[in-house]
Amino acid sequence: MKKLISKILNNDAFGNTLASLISIFLGLIVGLVVMVIFNRAGAWPGFLVMLQGGFSDGARGIGQVLYYTTPLILVGLAVGFSFQTGLFNIGVIGQFTIAAYVAIIIGGKLSMPASIHWIVALIGASLAGVIWAAVPGLLKAYFRVSEIISCIMMNYIALYLVNQLVHDTHYESTTAMSAYVKKTALMPKMGLDTIFPGSTVNSGLFIAIIMAILVYILLYKTSFGYSLRCCGLNRDASKYAGINETRNIIIVMLISGFIAGLAGGILYLSAITKNYKISELFINEPGYSIPVALLGMSHPIGIIFSSLFIAYIIVGGSLMQGYGFPVETVGIITAVLIYFSAFSLIFKNKVNKFALQFSYKESQKTDSFKNE
């Protein structure tokens, strides 16, 4: 029995999960305190609503949670994947934006049968993401330019370029947004609309989950993934091992851009009224990519859960408006939760330490522990 506990405690996934849960828990406590400061009367019911998240709004709520989860998984994956291989693709925002445009233009301008229209639009979007990510990738690989700075630049270029292109090519002037995409280009619902009526969730969710699994397999089960992780952990040793880092940098950026592009495409093909808003501000969703990736410990499966969590809080937080918490307070509380998620690493270490001590004591009792 004790052995079993010790084994569970020493399990990495368990440690990660427990650590994330602890940090989330602490974040929620602080969030509650913040809410009490803001609005004593509404704090507790509002907090409960946030905790219930999507569940407090029935099937539609759950559907919305899953809908918001979809792009978060993908942008989180794009960043997390790059992290694991030693790069920091902060350019997800730009890749996402440019992909959104391509999806909108293919979905809005071309005419195709429903069965292939959305697929073509998605492919186009992903390719746009790939192209946008290729620039920092190539710059890093061949010109030793920090991907952080080139990604920031590419983000702004994407923003202004797309603002202009949307305006020039597919624009609804009454709302300053992109015009509608055609119904044939919308992501198929695949029955999700009957399970979660009134929500925007669609087959993009499946694509996101499949991508997460694919990335997991790629990273941990294939030789190519092995070489990528080598580069991420020890550049010199990878060189020593004959791993072609230049090529890996480029491929990683391309894959990362592909995933980010997919996210942009799926989101803007989700609903007829989900349109690109011309603005000097970056799109919201990719802004969550870093927290999602890190809260999920950059692990593809972890990212699915961290996305679910953040989407859950987004939905719950929005419902808090009914309890006297305007959107800004929701923003603060979400940010507090994310701040605390940054501590998951230290909790992870604490959990590990505890686990080690536990098994050390156990083994001392049975005298099976030996030095070295």
Binding site: T273, L281, V327
Partner: protein
């Protein structure tokens, strides 16, 4: 400690069962801000005034994103929290609005700047909704006309984005200038015209306005909500003057010589009052023009242009003397400002 809470203080009994929600709910778009120094704020001021006077709680709501599903969810949240009167202040809601008004026939709605439409694009006007629009072009017509009469010869228009309301502001301004120019027989009047592409106060927008003032522009009419602040700052540093927009912005900067307003505050207040009094008359579209006192110039600080001249002009607009108000072009008349046929003023359109 929110607005709703302060309303609670005024009327604790009314708000107690809703724990923070409001009987009057203002819905704004995901991309908007409440204190935008423009339409949202004007509307909110009307709500606050009425709510405080009548002991009704109020609250504003913003969706997670501007999709129909999210907007409908938002409306449900508001109704669940006790909303009886809902103000929709964004044309982004037009599809969602049609679903809201049919889902909640007992709740009263007003919607600004647009008309609810269903999925197929047909107008939906149930008796519990009033769609309210303004003739923005008339208020800026006044401004452009007054500025030229006051002696300005180089004028500029900076819009946020070419959305219909902003375009109407712009065209009206241009037409006001043209009209005054013709009346005075001037040949040296120049207009710079630009949509900056956003509504934010940024160094870029400050620099653009500064460069206009630097290049000789004497007065700029800015119709871009919060972005106005950048133009005011540029005016302060470059001895320029500015015409504000939407609501009376004179407190923002000493450089503001007047504001071209559409009176959302009063209209909101009056609609609420009608609802309270049981005289709410829904199911239709109302257009507020000079005739209905829906538009005006506020806090005029002109050197030469007098109140009497203003009153006279306003009356002519209200009565459409010689077709003066019907001649003002609106957003649907021309695609871009350089297509407006001007015989007197010269317009440079900066894309």
């Amino acid at each position: 400690a929110t607005a709703a809470a302060s309303a609670e203080e005024a009327a604790p009994a009314a708000a107690s069962e809703t724990t923070g929600g409001g009987e009057i709910a203002l819905l704004i778009s995901a991309a908007g801000t409440l204190d935008d120094r423009a339409f949202n704020q004007g509307c909110w001021n009307g709500v606050k005034e009425f709510g405080d006077e009548n002991g009704l709680s109020y609250m504003y709501y913003q969706p997670v994103e501007d999709t129909v599903e999210a907007q409908v969810t938002l409306c449900d949240t508001a109704v669940k929290a006790g909303a009886k009167f809902i103000i929709i202040n964004s044309d982004q809601f037009k599809v969602a609005a049609s679903k809201m008004i049919t889902a909640y026939p007992d709740v009263t709605f007003i919607i600004f700047d647009t008309v609810p439409i269903d999925d197929d694009g047909n107008q939906v006007l149930t008796p519990n909704v009033l769609a309210i629009q303004f003739a923005e072009q008339q208020s800026t017509f006044l401004a452009g006309y007054a500025a030229v009469k006051d002696g300005y010869r180089k004028l500029g228009f900076m819009g946020g984005m070419a959305v219909p309301a902003v375009v109407r502001f712009g065209y009206g301004f241009v037409w006001g200038i043209e009209t005054a120019c013709k009346e005075l027989g001037l040949d040296d009047v120049e207009i710079m015209y630009n949509y900056s592409g956003d509504f934010k106060p940024t160094p870029e927008n400050q620099a653009r306005a500064a460069s206009w003032f630097q290049g000789g522009t004497e007065i700029i009419h800015v119709a871009a909500g919060p972005m106005g602040a950048s133009v005011f700052a540029a005016a302060e540093q470059n001895n320029g003057v500015v015409i504000g927009v939407d609501s009376d912005q004179s407190a923002e900067s000493p450089t503001i010589i007047t504001s071209a307003i559409k009176d959302l505050e009063t209209v909101t207040y009056n609609s609420l009052k009608a609802w309270k009094d049981g005289t709410f008359d829904g199911g239709k579209i109302v257009l507020y023009t000079a005739k209905e006192n829906g538009v005006a110039l506020a806090s005029m600080k002109f050197k030469n242009f007098t109140q009497a001249e203003y009153d006279d002009l306003y009356q002519r607009l209200a009565d459409d003397v010689d077709g003066i108000s019907s001649a003002i072009p609106t957003d649907t008349d021309y695609e871009s400002p350089d297509q407006i046929p001007l015989t007197c003023a010269k317009l440079t359109y900066v894309e």
